[in-house]
């Protein structure tokens, strides 16, 4: 089990190439049989007639990193997973770009999928991160998670 801490926050969007690199790094871990990846992508929601063009993320970073770690430890205790990685954007992420990357790996698929859902739900509910939905005219609203 890989449990080393790593920094979760990434400045700006999470790129497909970053995701490919993360996947490629697991080819040496040959006890893995299934990976599950969840990606959060910024939607072009229309709010009061104005279209979202980006989300500007901010966080209470010290508390968030501690919380991410607590959630990771809980998931390792609860599910038989071999690897787990979480990345979250900070700063501006445009619509169509990726702001959350949750990557779980296990010997058998069931555990990786269940752990992924568990992580995503806890991240959305418990981690002190805020998104400001920015419109074309530079006005904004504070995002609400549903």
């Amino acid at each position: 089990m890989e449990k080393k801490k790593h920094t979760v926050f990434i400045s700006g969007a999470i790129t497909p190439i970053f995701i490919a690199d993360s996947i490629a790094k697991h080819s040496s871990k040959t006890s893995i049989g299934g990976h599950n990846i969840f990606l959060g992508q910024v939607r072009n929601d229309v709010i009061d007639g104005k279209m979202v063009v980006a989300i500007d993320y901010s966080a209470y970073e010290e508390m968030a990193e501690q919380k991410f770690n607590e959630i990771r430890e809980a998931a390792f205790a609860k599910y038989e997973i071999i690897c787990m990685h979480i990345y979250h954007s900070i700063g501006i992420v445009k619509t169509g770009e990726i702001s959350l990357f949750v990557f779980t790996s296990s010997a058998h698929r069931k555990e990786a999928i269940e752990a992924s859902t568990y992580l995503v739900n806890r991240i959305k509910e418990e981690v002190p991160v805020w998104g400001k939905e920015v419109f074309e005219d530079e006005s904004y609203v504070w995002k609400k998670n549903t």
Binding site: A59, M63, A64, H88, P128, V129, W142, K144, N145
Partner: protein, 77 residues
């Protein structure tokens, strides 16, 4: 006895600053009451409090050098 206050997101727009120190406050409820006098718009805001990075659910005693954070509803992901 001095404590540090941190505010985030929408609350930072109300207070205008992100972090400051105050003294003479003994509990989180006392702090909340003081802040709402200083920033009346806070009365309309839903927020949670964290003391030293741990969310609190009930009135909590504050000690020297504690850090209290005011956290609007999270919207990460």
């Amino acid at each position: 006895m001095e404590i540090t206050i941190l505010v985030f997101g929408q609350i930072k727009e109300i207070t205008g600053i992100a972090a400051w120190q105050i003294s003479g406050i003994k509990s989180t409820e006392e702090l909340a009451a003081k802040l709402v006098m200083q920033f009346p718009e806070l009365a309309l805001m839903k927020y949670a409090m964290a003391v030293n990075k741990i969310l609190i659910q009930t009135d909590t005693e504050l000690n020297e050098n504690d850090t209290v954070a005011l956290l609007p509803p999270f919207s990460g992901g």
